[in-house]
């Protein structure tokens, strides 16, 4: 892992249905935004999911956030910088595989 780069962690609440992942990932690929890591969990009740995206888009962050926010299935959006550590335990697990 490149520790010099600082990831931006975007945290979303989204509607939980089978097409949501396509909407989010499709947005990143067709607008050529870099999506490094993604984690998704349904919330209790099954109506919503939480999604965490680690992105490398400091220069275009504002535009990335606006485009995500436009998706009808995105209910809340938040972000924080210097968040590589969020995925650290998962990364260690993957490295052990």
């Amino acid at each position: 892992m490149d520790n010099a780069r600082e990831g931006i962690l975007i945290e979303l609440t989204v509607s939980n249905h089978p097409g949501v992942m396509s909407h989010i990932c499709g947005l990143f690929s067709r607008r050529a935004y870099n999506l490094e890591k993604i984690l998704c969990f349904p919330r209790p009740g099954g109506q919503e999911s939480k999604m965490w995206l680690l992105v490398e888009e400091e220069d275009r962050l504002d535009q990335v956030l606006k485009q995500i926010d436009k998706l009808e299935d995105v209910q809340t959006i938040d972000y924080r910088r210097n968040s590589r550590g969020f995925f650290l335990q998962l990364e260690e697990m993957v490295e052990r595989l």
């Binding site: 089978p18 097409g19 396509s22 909407h23 499709g26 067709r30 504002d62 535009q63 606006k66 485009q67 926010d69 436009k70 998706l71 009808e72």
Partner: protein, 562 residues
């Protein structure tokens, strides 16, 4: 409590939304919907000949009225055929509801007959899309689809409905009527005050108006900006009609095929008031050199368009009409006679059209002649190509929703089915479709739909027997190496039209006579008018793709330095 199946419920929901016309084509996976449609007493179904025609006809209804257009296709090829029209609606922010049949749920994912992943394919070209999994979801989904299509920045919504969901019988309680649309809010007061100060202080401001002006119904308030605040106004292809072309302060279209004087004025302006626009490359040219001396006020309902390509000094995010109405009282009435004098000088030195280009045997003259005959009430559609740019340059547009054209996607084949939709939704208006021989061939089958519905449509073919704009670009930018842009056979379009049962007038063997043209335009019912145009008639001026708008090729007074 009533019992009905999903298809009946869906058609009922369209009735609740006030829909009276649907275009489409039936097929295996949407037959339950068609059975329900047959029984509807308030919805008229118009049978297209190709799903793309159905999609563009729905767009013609939506673009000419502002109300959503609805179209239906079956699964598989029906869905893939209609997607071009949906993508076109997406790029031009047109409210269209597209209902597609899908194979039964149990067969989804099995590569069943006429199965494609319509949901997956429509994600990047719709404002939103749905795959309905149970008939219970239909009322809420259809209501939401309309709400999404019309609210904020409008756009197309696709609803994919598996056949078994259409057939699923459920108990339905009383259906709610359509909910009121969300009103669109305005931006903050602070930004309004800053924008007002910038406009009041500017000595060379220009309004840059786009399709958002039409969509938000802001044309009336925009005219106050032009007339009272003394602001000259340029329009994008989608914004034409926002300010009448007869207004001396109207600068026409900007960008790739603008009048030289318009791009020159933009080069000099010190404040750009960008309203309902998205800084498209065909309008701005090389973005880093667009309006180099100008501060920017950007007003738009879509936050993701502001700062996307050009940083704005002040951003007003909200409904354009509301924002402009709140801003107007803070502006000082101004005449700005120096600035208007300078623009008038540019217009005089660099005219778009001169007398010899305005005879009816030349493209500009033909367009002006048609306008003179059909008058202000007519709706004008175009296809895509030279005829489209000539029309955008010189047709005397005077009101919003008068001009329907494929801007963002630039889809050849748009014009005829869009004219059909416009004629269906506006039975009291004459509809003229300016087309080319290349474009018309892309949806020529819809001549049948026009005849079958006895629509008052006049199709004027600018026939240069080539793909004219491609031909032009090969001449200009590929060393004159013309390839694959000339047709080797000369089609008898009048005979084809007559084969569909349509009236036709052909000027191939006789020079264009104004009285024959007038008779053809004013006779009731559909008519095709074929007019030969010399291949060498080019669209000028032209900014080379990727160049700055200050680099213009051709046109009158091209050799004169500013």
């Amino acid at each position: 409590m009533t019992t009905m199946n999903g298809a009946e419920l869906l058609i009922r929901m369209l009735e609740v939304q006030g829909i009276t016309i649907i275009t489409g084509i039936p097929g295996g996976a949407n037959l339950p919907l068609y059975d329900a449609l047959r029984a509807s007493t308030t919805i008229r179904h118009v049978l297209a000949r190709h799903e793309q025609g159905a999609g563009f006809a729905a767009q013609g209804m939506a673009r000419s009225t502002g109300s959503p257009g609805v179209c239906i296709a079956t699964s598989g090829p029906g869905a893939t055929n209609i997607l071009t029209a949906i993508a076109d609606a997406y790029l031009d922010s047109v409210p269209v509801i597209c209902i597609t049949g899908q194979v039964p749920k149990s067969l989804i994912g099995t590569d069943a007959f006429q199965e494609v992943d319509t949901y997956g394919m429509s994600i990047p070209i719709t404002k939103h899309n749905f795959l309905i999994r149970s008939a219970d979801e239909i009322p809420a989904t259809i209501a939401r689809a309309f709400d999404i299509a019309l609210s904020g920045r409008p756009g197309p919504v696709l609803v994919d409905v598996p056949k078994d969901v259409q057939q699923q019988v459920i108990e339905v309680e009383a259906l709610e009527t359509a909910p009121p649309r969300k009103s669109n809010a305005c931006c903050g007061k602070e930004e309004i005050v800053r924008a007002a100060a910038m406009i009041n202080d500017a000595s060379k401001p220009i309004l840059y108006l786009g399709g958002g002006v039409i969509n938000s119904g802001a044309a009336d308030v925009v005219r106050s900006y032009v007339d009272i605040c003394g602001l000259p106004a340029t329009m994008t292809l989608m914004g034409l009609g926002a300010v009448p072309s007869s207004n001396p302060r109207a600068l026409g279209m900007l960008g790739m095929h603008a009048a030289r004087s318009t791009n020159m004025a933009l080069e000099e302006c010190d404040l750009l008031i960008a309203a309902g626009v998205r800084f498209d490359d065909r309008a701005t040219g090389k973005i880093s050199e667009f309006c180099p001396n100008a501060d920017v006020i950007h007003i738009d309902i879509d936050p993701s368009e502001v700062h996307k390509l050009r940083r704005a000094n002040v951003a007003l995010i909200g409904d354009l009409k509301v924002c402009l109405e709140e801003l107007l009282p803070l502006l000082q009435p101004r005449t700005r006679s120096d600035w208007h004098g300078r623009i008038a000088e540019l217009k005089e030195r660099f005219p778009l059209a001169v007398a010899e280009s305005l005879i009816p045997q030349k493209p500009y003259g033909l367009i002006r002649k048609v306008a003179e005959v059909v008058g202000d009430e007519a709706i004008i559609t175009t296809d895509v190509g030279k005829h489209q740019m000539w029309t955008a340059q010189v047709y005397p547009f005077s009101r919003p929703r008068q001009f329907l054209t494929s801007g963002g996607l630039g889809t050849m084949g748009f014009g005829l089915p869009a004219a059909i939709g416009a004629a269906l939704a506006n039975p009291d208006r004459l509809v003229v479709c300016f087309s080319g021989d290349g474009s018309l061939q892309m949806n020529i089958q819809e001549l049948a739909t026009a005849v079958e519905n006895r629509l008052d449509i006049k199709i004027i073919i600018f026939n240069n027997n080539s793909l004219g704009l491609v031909h032009q670009q090969q001449n200009l930018f590929y060393d004159g190496q013309v390839f694959a842009s000339e047709y080797a056979i000369d089609i008898d379009f009048a005979a084809i039209a007559r084969g569909f049962g349509m009236q036709a007038v052909d000027f191939r063997f006789s020079p264009l006579a104004s009285n024959l043209l007038k008779d053809a335009l004013l006779a009731p019912g559909p008519c095709l008018i074929n007019v030969p145009i010399d291949k060498s008639e080019e669209v000028y001026p032209m900014v080379p793709p990727g160049a700055a708008n200050s680099t213009m090729i051709g046109g009158f007074a091209a050799d004169i330095k500013n």
